[in-house]
């Protein structure tokens, strides 16, 4: 349970948001070229980091926009919030 500073609406309770999981997993440009291992990697394999993780969040009960968050999963502390399309910060 923590607060999230939505880049569009400001600080709100986490329960207004939904997590979209690990960020920066690029959708394959040529899906037909992928072999089964690459599909598995894209669809299912996750870093599931204990520590600082880059992840996507959606403000579902607010502006409904997506954005990125760098969060420490060992204590739920948010280090940085940045917009979709931006590169992950160096932490």
């Amino acid at each position: 349970m923590f607060l999230i500073n939505c880049p569009y609406c400001g600080v709100r309770d986490q329960s207004e948001f939904v997590s979209g999981g690990e960020a920066h997993i690029a959708r394959p440009k040529q899906p037909t070229e992928l072999n089964d291992d690459q599909w598995a990697e894209y669809l299912f394999m996750r870093k599931n980091i204990k520590g600082i993780q880059f992840e996507r969040w959606n403000h579902v009960h607010g502006c409904r926009k997506w954005f990125n968050v760098a969060r420490d999963t060992s204590n739920d502390k948010i280090e940085k919030i940045y917009k979709m399309g931006e590169q992950p910060p160096k932490i």
Partner: protein
């Protein structure tokens, strides 16, 4: 040789104020080398070690645990045991475990308080009714006891449920597995630990694994907080921390770790003598032998290793509980806690070899692995000893995420287990 627990040993020890009981397991320092090392002293890890020693004669082995045994999800769960899963592979796996539960206290000479009080799953909408009826048929085809109950039969089986049809999510019926029930979580860990220790297994607590040493594609040993341990076979059974350990070996797993919560009320007289689960409104409840209501809540939507969980999740569960059981409206909740559960995309576990020789994983049990503890240990021991899965866990290999042959229990098991 350990002293046998019995009514006579109880009486004998009563005369010395219970001060002379023999230690249930040793507290050894790690040896330099073992034939196999199990990482994680939860129920699954301890059961694995027990069956490796008992059925496969591997006794020069150790279980390493970073905290105390049973301090992970084994000691944090709501202890529901059932085997009424939809798919054949799951039915085989969970019913294998249920059959072992039925004789476990005798086998371990340790009372795990397995109580076959039945588990009832409620249906609250037409889709629930269809899904649960389908599951009942599937269960019976697999030889698993299951019956469909109409609303009045639900009421008869558990009279405190509000079956009025004008509540937000009315009860439209339910399924019942009579062989299902609960067990004492700590006793399962302790019973397996005692049994494994007696056969020579070293159970090493306060020993955290920090690295996995590999030589190419073969494991060589473990870096731990108590030094390096050499071994050719490593079985990882670390629940919520599986990915952390996989990363040490340079592997990625299809897992997400999330907080899952439970809570207990103040103790009261017996009021509910079964387990009732409701996936649609996400509430499940049973009563412990001490009299506390044991209530399971949901997982948070985000990855976290904080072992707490959010308040709004508890609030939603309690709302649902109150609508289904108005009689609990003035009950006080005593304690709340969280565990970190490792969830697979198909909500089924992984009991498997990996691409690294000598490295095995038993994980992905998520919100529902307590019920599988004895079966999981048995099958994982088989997999490690033979370097091949048993036929009951073949479908639960890690390669299913590449082949696409998932065991998708999401629909059938939903969030609550």
């Amino acid at each position: 040789m350990k002293n046998k627990y019995s009514i006579f040993s109880l009486i004998k020890n009563a005369f010395s104020n219970h001060e002379n009981w023999q230690r249930a397991w040793r507290d050894p320092e790690p040896k330099k080398e073992y034939d196999a090392v199990i990482v994680g002293g939860g129920g699954h890890g301890l059961a694995t070690a027990y069956y490796l020693a008992k059925k496969h004669n591997l006794t020069n082995i150790a279980v390493v645990e970073k905290g105390w045994i049973g301090g992970g999800n084994t000691g944090r769960n709501t202890t529901i045991i059932r085997s009424n899963y939809l798919w054949d592979a799951s039915a085989g796996l969970y019913d294998h475990a249920l059959k072992i539960w039925e004789g476990l206290s005798q086998e371990l000479n340790y009372n795990v308080m397995f109580s076959q009080r039945g588990v009832m799953n409620l249906a609250h909408n037409l889709q629930d009714v269809r899904d649960l009826k389908r599951r009942t048929h599937a269960n019976r085809l697999n030889g698993i006891d299951a019956v469909w109950l109409e609303t009045d039969e639900v009421k008869k089986f558990c009279p405190i449920i509000n079956t009025s049809q004008d509540i937000r999510y009315p009860v439209l019926g339910g399924t019942l597995q009579k062989r299902a029930g609960t067990a004492r979580h700590d006793a399962v860990a302790w019973g397996y630990a005692r049994g494994a220790d007696e056969m020579g297994v070293d159970i090493i607590q306060n020993c955290e694994v920090k690295g996995i040493k590999r030589n190419g594609d073969t494991v060589e040993g473990l870096e731990t907080s108590k030094g390096f341990i050499k071994t050719k076979k490593i079985g990882i059974v670390a629940a919520g921390h599986s990915s952390v350990i996989a990363n040490m070996a340079g592997l990625k797993l299809p897992l997400e770790s999330k907080p899952l919560q439970a809570l207990v009320s103040e103790p009261v007289k017996p009021i509910i003598d079964t387990v009732v689960m409701s996936n649609a409104v996400h509430a499940y409840v049973s009563q412990s032998d001490k009299g506390e209501l044991v209530i399971g809540a949901g997982t948070d939507s985000y990855i976290s290793y904080t072992q707490k969980g959010s308040f709004n999740i508890v609030e939603e569960t309690l709302k649902a509980i109150l609508e289904l059981y108005p009689i609990f409206s003035r009950m006080k909740m005593l304690r709340q806690w969280g565990g970190i559960v490792d969830i697979c995309p198909d909500a089924s576990p992984i009991i498997s070899k990996t691409s690294i020789k000598g490295l095995y994983f038993n994980c992905g049990w998520g919100t529902g692995g307590f019920k599988a503890t004895p079966g999981s240990g048995d099958l994982f021991a088989h997999t490690i000893a033979n370097d091949e899965p048993h036929k009951l866990n073949a479908a639960f290999n890690i390669n299913r995420f590449v082949s696409g042959d998932l065991v998708d229990e999401h629909g059938a098991a939903a969030v609550a287990h």
